[in-house]
Amino acid sequence: MTSSSKSPFPAALLKWPALASVAVLGLSGCSVANSDAGAASSNTVRVVLGQEPPTLEACESNLTSTGVVVRSNVTEPLIERNPTSGELEPKLATEWKATTDTEWTLKLREGVTFQDGTPFNAEAAAFTIERAVNSKLGCNVEGYVFGDADLAVKAVDATTLTVTTPEPDPILPLRLSFLEVVPTSTSTTAKVREPIGTGPYKIEKWDAGQKITLSSWDGYWGDKPAYAKAEYQWRSESSVRAAMITSGEADVAMGLSPDDNIGDLGVDYPNNETVALRLDANEAPLNDLRVRQAVNYALDKEGIVNSLYQGKHQVAAQLVPEGIVGHNAALKAWPFDLDKAKSLVADAKADGVDTSAQISLVVRSAQFPKITELAQVLQEQLSQAGLNVKLKMLETSQHLTYQVRPFSDDEGAVALMTQHGNQAGDAAFTVDQYMLSTGAQSYFGTPEFDAMIKKADAASGDERKKDFEDIFAYQNDKVVQFAHISHQTGIIGKAKSVKYTPNSSSGDELRVSEMTPAN
């Protein structure tokens, strides 16, 4: 009976999944499989990023993941900061000067057109500022660079623009360098994912989830770039990004780790990021200056830099690295002195400070390479000094609730690991946030310290430089809100076929026009 059964059952059974999968593959139109393989032609440069840009909107280009693609490639600012010299240089504005205390006048470049063919003029420049700073769009750059202040802009004639600030602002030109210029046809009610600019490249295609292609634009006012196309992909694992360089699938890879073992294909560059612990002086035991000093003495910064980062980072004495206006070259990092740390803690204890109270070491997972290791080292070293430290590794959103105001007050003492990158080149962008007693990322301050900061903010030239240098010295002497660890060094992977020298802003603004084929 059974053996005479006719239907070849197993075959029928197997047909189902097979048919189903064929149907699935067919229905979905092979949307994944049909993207063209290996476009490794010599006039295309292939870049691999850590994440897909959420948008390419020009007024959000101060976000690293957006700016790295759009800034100076698709769109351009009026004024541009040279990341190496720190000087401001003309871009779409050829010259600028302060005409009164609060008014700046800019002369604009002639003969520039947008990628949609419309001409660039003062009207477009004014439109850009209005849209980014004064509108209801909620642009990221608005809060980041301009705060609450609205700017009054006026197109005097086709090539002259005036900008008026409510308060005197000596670094307005620097702030303007964050604004990428867009034509007046850009929407004022919604953000635009694929902007039109005046840059050397225009957005050719964005395969969401897979790749962005830029192609060089013939009407560009400056020199034609060496590469006709730039392709961006993204992989979240740094080892995979490194592997793509090694295997020849990409030409430039951002954000590698020293352990990706990429050999001489890796290029180091100072990325302007500084790592530090921010200490909450509102809670015991960190409310005692000696304990905060002890934290500084207890950290073996040399050891960390040498063993975790292969000596590539630099031990830090302040929140900004060299090259930022206000960096105090005379400041020395706190020496590693465990005995001194222990005795400071003991002194504080003798004076009735509860040194056994728990300190939460709050760290954001995956913020930068080897952060988990670093956090465990810090915990161990602080424990050695006699402090009770509990490590808390948190994801980004949770970490933010500790990082910015309003701070929760039922947490006890917090030592927060912060990675600060000052991409503007002026210490005001650091100090206002991190050191004012009401700063968004500052636990505390003192009235005289606040006064010093206010004075520095309004100063200009050498006086400004000096004022900020004093501020960094004062923080280390009297305030000690920060225990600085290191100035970081970034690594980008670069194929032999590409010539490119990264600089301190490469992570935020990767200029494809500066890349050339090596042969």
Binding site: V32, G138, G143
Partner: protein, 309 residues
């Protein structure tokens, strides 16, 4: 069958609503996304503006009513992160995961049937020992680790395959191989188990006594009965794949729904998360119905055989 199908679809509607309500409520327990989307030095005013603009200042029930109102008009809201239509983002990502999961499961089932049958012919024999050892080992290797080792060996050292990405057939090999191992390992165990039992059933002896060849006995008789549990488990594993390809998608840069989901969870992109969960939930419910129907069909065909034997 059609009546059954209709009943199942109707009875699945309520659970779908429960899933969405659950995701909606849980997502909002993970905190206000304002600080993720605003600059670090944003003022309280900017935070309040952001919260109001995205309707997050409303009571939860009002938000939920709004959302369901939108869903009925097929409006799933906008992504906070990209400003795009949430449903469009989910629909765009889904096929990539589906293709990956379907291909993986077909291969896993085929391979497991072959290896499982081979092992079951001589229970506790050498083939059995080796195959169960290998399949268990395969099922217990962490997938992200395997993926990175795979890239290292096959893309860098040997240069046979691309490291990642979606271009060309070669790019499919490593993701599928990584995803395949666990379902394969589990299915081998299951096929082997049911085959061992099936081969000692009386009707198999009957078939043998009538002179049926060994291969025929295995493929035509025993496998029929062994297929049922394998089908169910394969179904469960597929659900797991659809939901959990996130690790493989993350490493290989595969633009699928798993990656979309984890990104929108970590970025508190509620609308996208809800759209993605709704879409996968519909797919999983559909898959469950298909499995049950397949099972009913299978049962109907298998039953006479066992009863008469």
């Amino acid at each position: 069958m059609l009546i059954y199908l209709r009943k199942r679809i109707v009875s699945s509607a309520l659970p779908l609503v429960v899933v969405i309500v659950g995701v909606f409520a849980l997502a909002r327990m993970t905190g206000n996304p304002a600080s993720l989307y605003l600059p670090l030095n944003a003022t309280q005013q900017m935070r309040d503006d952001f919260t109001a603009r995205n309707g997050l200042d409303q009571p939860l029930l009002v938000q939920m009513a709004d959302y369901f109102g939108g869903v009925l008009r097929l409006d799933f809201g906008q992504s906070l992160r990209t400003g795009q239509d949430a449903a469009a983002m989910a629909l765009r990502a889904f096929p990539a995961t589906l293709q990956l999961a379907a291909t993986t499961m077909v291969l896993a089932v085929l391979l497991a049937l072959v290896v499982g049958c081979w092992a079951a012919l001589k229970p506790n024999g050498i083939a059995d020992r080796i195959s169960s050892f290998v399949s268990m080992a395969a099922a217990s290797i962490p997938d992200f680790w395997l993926a990175i080792v795979g890239i290292w060996v096959f893309a860098i050292t040997l240069g046979w395959l691309p490291t990642s990405g979606v271009s060309g057939a070669g790019a499919w090999v490593l993701p599928i191989a990584t995803l395949l191992l666990r379902p394969f390992g589990v299915l081998v165990q299951i096929v082997r188990g049911s085959m061992v039992s099936a081969l000692s059933e009386p009707y198999i002896k009957l078939a043998r006594s009538r002179g049926a060849g060994e291969l025929r006995v295995v493929t035509h008789h025993a496998l029929r009965n062994a297929a049922a549990p394998a089908l169910t488990v394969a179904g469960d594993l597929t659900v797991g794949l659809v939901n959990g390809a996130v690790v493989v998608e993350t490493i290989f840069g595969w633009p699928g729904i798993g990656k979309l989901m984890i990104d929108s969870i970590l970025q508190r992109d509620f609308a996208v998360l809800q759209a993605a969960v709704l879409l996968t939930a519909v797919a999983i419910f559909a898959l469950n119905i298909l499995i049950d129907m397949g099972y009913a069909l299978l049962d109907a065909r298998v039953r006479p055989v066992t009863v008469k034997a």
